[in-house]
């Protein structure tokens, strides 16, 4: 096929395109040959065991790390570093502990709309905090909040940044199951209300979280990390947890995902076996 005349070429100008991306730390490969197109407005879950480089992949997209090989574009422009078009929420509550919530939010707001007054910044910060259910807590400091509340602020701050792309690195990984479920629903609500729809890349090692949230799930294998499968979750929204647990479509997807991971694990074990037996012959 000739790239120039591809029917989808104009679409590729949108969204995120990872083209044969590789990355390694001092010679140890972490990610190998990652090719992925992430469409605008899509909610993509990145699922993988620990050591699969899923967080690294997100950091590459964010521009905090630079790939050792390959090309990456965001809306047709090459990614060379961090930019406020890609907001990020980290797993550890990445608020600055010496600033209260309003000050933390104002840092993002002044990026998104430079030159607005302190008063307007405070008002906007209050609005964003209300969006995540934390109205009136602007004068609190992060250490006065629970883990779940801090993560709500982190989400509010990413929204305040106004980024069309939202990168989330196991944002709910440290929360208890009830808070986790609440925040998942809050995230989906915010995402489906956003206009134009935000593109979310959501890293998790929790299969149910990946399937319940995502439009599609990209499964990574480990050492080095590579894409071993991509599943579309064609299940209408709004989704319900009940349906997720009972619907046969979801059960089938779960089984397929598990199969992918299991198959991959067995393949790896066999590969190791082959190497062993070869070396025994020498």
């Amino acid at each position: 096929m000739v790239g120039e005349t591809l029917p989808g070429a104009s679409q590729l100008q949108h969204g995120l395109v990872l083209d044969r991306i590789s990355f390694g730390y001092n010679g140890t490969p972490v990610l190998e040959d990652i090719c992925l197109n992430i469409g605008e407005g899509e909610f993509l879950s990145l699922l993988g065991p620990s050591g699969s480089g899923k967080s690294t992949m997100l950091r590459l997209i964010a521009g905090i790390e630079t790939p050792s090989r390959g090309r990456m574009t965001c809306r047709g422009k090459e990614v060379t570093g961090p930019g406020i078009d890609r907001g990020m929420v980290f797993q550890d509550y990445s608020l600055f502990p010496w600033m209260n919530l309003i000050q933390n939010m104002a840092l993002a707001i002044s990026r998104n709309s430079p030159g607005i007054s302190k008063r307007e910044q405070r008002a906007l910060a209050g609005e964003y905090l209300a969006m995540v259910g934390l109205e009136g807590l602007g004068r609190k400091y992060p250490f006065e909040l629970s883990g779940g509340m801090q993560q709500r602020v982190a989400i509010a701050r990413a929204l305040a940044l106004g980024s069309p792309f939202l990168l989330m690195d196991e944002p709910f990984g440290a929360l208890d199951p009830i808070n986790r479920a609440r925040l998942q629903d809050l995230l989906i609500e915010i995402w489906s209300c956003s206009k134009p729809a935000k593109t979310v890349v959501f890293v998790t090692h929790d299969m149910d979280e990946a399937l319940y949230l995502g439009d599609c799930v990209v499964v990574l294998g480990s050492m080095p990390g590579r894409i071993i499968g991509k599943l579309d979750v064609d299940f209408p929204r709004p989704r319900s947890r009940q349906a997720y647990l009972t619907a046969p479509e979801f059960q089938a997807l779960r089984a397929r995902t598990l199969d992918l991971l299991r198959h991959y694990a067995i393949e790896r074990l066999q590969a190791e076996d082959t190497v062993k037996s070869l070396s025994e012959g020498i």
Partner: protein
């Protein structure tokens, strides 16, 4: 008790109480302090010290009588020379405060720059390693020769003494800013100046404060030593002056008073620190 000690530790056994983490449970358990006095051990120790002082003063004979003025005599001398001491404090602070504040501001500023800038660190650090351990007192004669007045040279010496601890602590704090704050700043697209001012400065402030504590203690030492050399007013000068006249009650009063001022200054710094670092958990 059948307590096993490692061979290397055995010869240290008599000095175990010096070693970090040592707690002699058996003795603490047996000799418990009576309930009403518990929590007042510091006060008890102070009373004991004054009593000991009184006893030494009471039972010393000959020329020692002059060398050990009793607590009452010293207190009287302290009261009598309080106006002089207050004026002395003022003169001392005219040296201490500018020198110390200058050291704090430049130490933090330069520490943050050096701690976050690779080439600057590589350029400055070898020099700092050589220059920082030089005892600042050694500069005093030269500073007096070099700078026009006693005050400027003393300020300079206090500055040098306080600068290194503040600088070294701040720069190591700036280098150790947690990666997540750095990532966070990158995601938010902070400019370099904003990053240094709003992230690196507060993040390394706990380190800066420990440097400031060491720096303040050193400042007092340097201040009084400098005043012994060539001041015509000040706390160190007060002590030196009355020692020359063998007026030991006033001299001891000067020492006690200077200790009190140094203690109060450290306490003030501690309060500022607690306020500034309210977010440290």
């Amino acid at each position: 008790m059948g307590e096993q000690t490692m061979p290397a530790e055995r010869h240290l056994a008599p000095y175990r109480w010096i070693l970090p983490g040592f707690r002699d449970r058996s003795r603490l358990a047996v000799r418990k302090i009576p309930g009403i006095l518990r929590g007042k051990e510091g006060l008890l120790f102070a009373i004991g010290l004054v009593l000991l002082w009184q006893a030494v003063a009471r039972f010393s004979t000959g020329q020692h009588r002059f060398l050990f003025p009793s607590p009452a005599v010293t207190a009287k001398a302290l009261w009598a020379s309080l106006p002089e001491l207050l004026i002395g404090t003022w003169h001392s602070f005219l040296i201490l405060v500018p020198g110390y504040l200058l050291a704090v501001f430049t130490g933090i500023f330069w520490g943050i720059l050096v701690g976050t800038t690779g080439w600057l660190h590589r350029a400055f650090n070898p020099f700092a390693k050589v220059a920082a351990p030089i005892p600042p007192t050694i500069y005093i004669p030269y500073a007096i020769a070099l700078l026009s007045t006693f005050r400027t040279s003393a300020i300079f010496v206090v500055f040098i003494g306080a600068f290194w601890p503040v600088f070294l602590n701040t720069s190591s704090g700036a280098m150790a800013v947690p990666g997540r704050y750095r990532d966070d700043a990158a995601i938010l697209g902070l400019s370099r100046v904003e990053y240094l001012w709003r992230v690196v400065f507060p993040a390394s402030l706990p380190h800066s404060f420990s440097g400031m504590g060491v720096g303040l203690a050193l400042s007092f030492i340097l201040l009084t030593v400098a005043e012994l050399f060539g001041a015509n007013a000040g706390l160190g000068r007060f002590v030196q002056y009355y020692a020359d006249f063998a007026d030991y009650p006033k001299m001891v009063a000067g020492i006690v008073y200077t200790g009190l001022i140094a203690f109060l200054s450290m306490e003030l710094l501690e309060r500022i620190k607690r306020r500034a670092l309210f977010w440290v958990r």
